[in-house]
Symmetry: C2
Amino acid sequence: MAVYTDVGDEDLAAFIADYDIGELVSFKGIAEGVENSNFLLRTTAASFILTLYEKRVNEAELPFFIGLMQHLAGRGINCPTPVRARSGAALGRLAGRPAAIVTFLDGVSVRRPRLPHCAQLGVALADLHAAGADFAVHRTNALSLPGWRPLFERSADRADEVQPGLAAEIDAELGRLEAEWPKALPAGVIHADLFPDNVFFLGDDLSGLIDFYFACNDFLAYDLVICLNAWCFETDLQFNVTKARALIAGYESRRPLTPGERAALPLLARGAAMRFLLSRLYDWLNVPPGALVTPKDPIEYLRKLRFHQRVTGVGAYGMTP
Amino acid sequence: MAVYTDVGDEDLAAFIADYDIGELVSFKGIAEGVENSNFLLRTTAASFILTLYEKRVNEAELPFFIGLMQHLAGRGINCPTPVRARSGAALGRLAGRPAAIVTFLDGVSVRRPRLPHCAQLGVALADLHAAGADFAVHRTNALSLPGWRPLFERSADRADEVQPGLAAEIDAELGRLEAEWPKALPAGVIHADLFPDNVFFLGDDLSGLIDFYFACNDFLAYDLVICLNAWCFETDLQFNVTKARALIAGYESRRPLTPGERAALPLLARGAAMRFLLSRLYDWLNVPPGALVTPKDPIEYLRKLRFHQRVTGVGAYGMTP
């Protein structure tokens, strides 16, 4: 939830005058995204989202994100599409911050995904990977294996405040991940944060994907297990193998996993659980003064990690071994 | 800025199924209102605002607010209009809270009002007072004269932290207001919080009034001086007599002030400044943990109060004495 920067009507009017998007009808800050300020902008032509990129975002990376959304939209992916100003630029400046206008996507995110949601997510994820295959810009995943230990070290001395023994457990698992992490698997542009909040449905039909600000280059199957962790555990943290089967089958209906990917899935899933465990642990221990949102529970991802540690093969994910 | 309560898609779907407003297309928390959770709700039919009333709102008062908006809309005022469920009720329950759906108003609030904005505000305020004249429900203004000293007493011992001598200055002014406050003036339903945030314009035309959650019964001219204080001082706190003249002339084009109201204006304006000085002082000294918003500077209203203390007649407001 956000809206950090206040935008005055005169600044806004001057900004949108550079775009061919009609006359301003309404403008409201919306509670979407945690890193940036987002506004719903309605004009006589359509609805848009105006994003102001706040200080936590690396300005040098914005062309990657903007370019990726343009690229994916051009390949038929339903994602926010950056709107170009009359100058041709899709990235402008408003209230002292980098700013972009993107198209508004209809749809509502689901809190408790059901089977059809998981199946469609799998299809959409594979389509996203296919559409990103020829995107020329590269962005390293700062939250993959090489980033985990440095992130852990920022929380290590206080991790046991959250749960006794947590620091040792993470340290041991990081050692195993560092030893066993795959060196080569099919790679490309991944979303890297495709939680239910970032997937819209209209009725039961998937209508779009949003929030590409963690997108990067990494193993494609790593994106799939991020989804597995985010969509296929019930609220009591029981793993729902039927949802996993639906998700993976949806994905494989467009792109069958390679034998190497299949074999690596449990390990990748442990890594994906570790990534969110570590970022949540850090956020849990470092709630900024003024935060309106309760940080998410890191232990949820510890339990998901432990589930995957016990997995002995892809049968646990509903796949034919 | 708000959105305190998270609403799940299933709860929302069940809630709106009771309304004849089309199919859900989009749903986003918006940063509007400081007391309640607000969501922009788009359906296949139209856009709406869904409000969940949070704990700071007295549930017993909701029928007043809902009924008032219905009444005013029925009299042609452009304000959010509560939408009735099929049962006929305009107030429902969602996520454990009282909830209402109101129509969406187009328009944008202006940060730096200009003369035409002030003139139209005066007209709209008089129209609001006329439309409210036959509203049968009564709500006492908890933030008028009898409420000020109790509110002050909650900040008195710390007021000098904000500015040395502030407590004594407020105490003395409260004494004068208590001695001189008018006993009888034309009264009725007032908005009581018609700051620029709560007035929408489309281009230069006033398109609607929002946020009736301070509305109450009080002197009509008190509403006018709340606007005078909120709209007619420049950002450097210089009083702009031309804007004041435009505001009051706009108001009087629909309802001329009585001689008693004219004579009372400076005193009423001091009272209106005191009311916001006191609430801002309290908020300044009691920032809740987790607040995302910087509280508004109480000293702004001290300076407005002092301006009106020096006023010797309505000529200072651009009126013919």
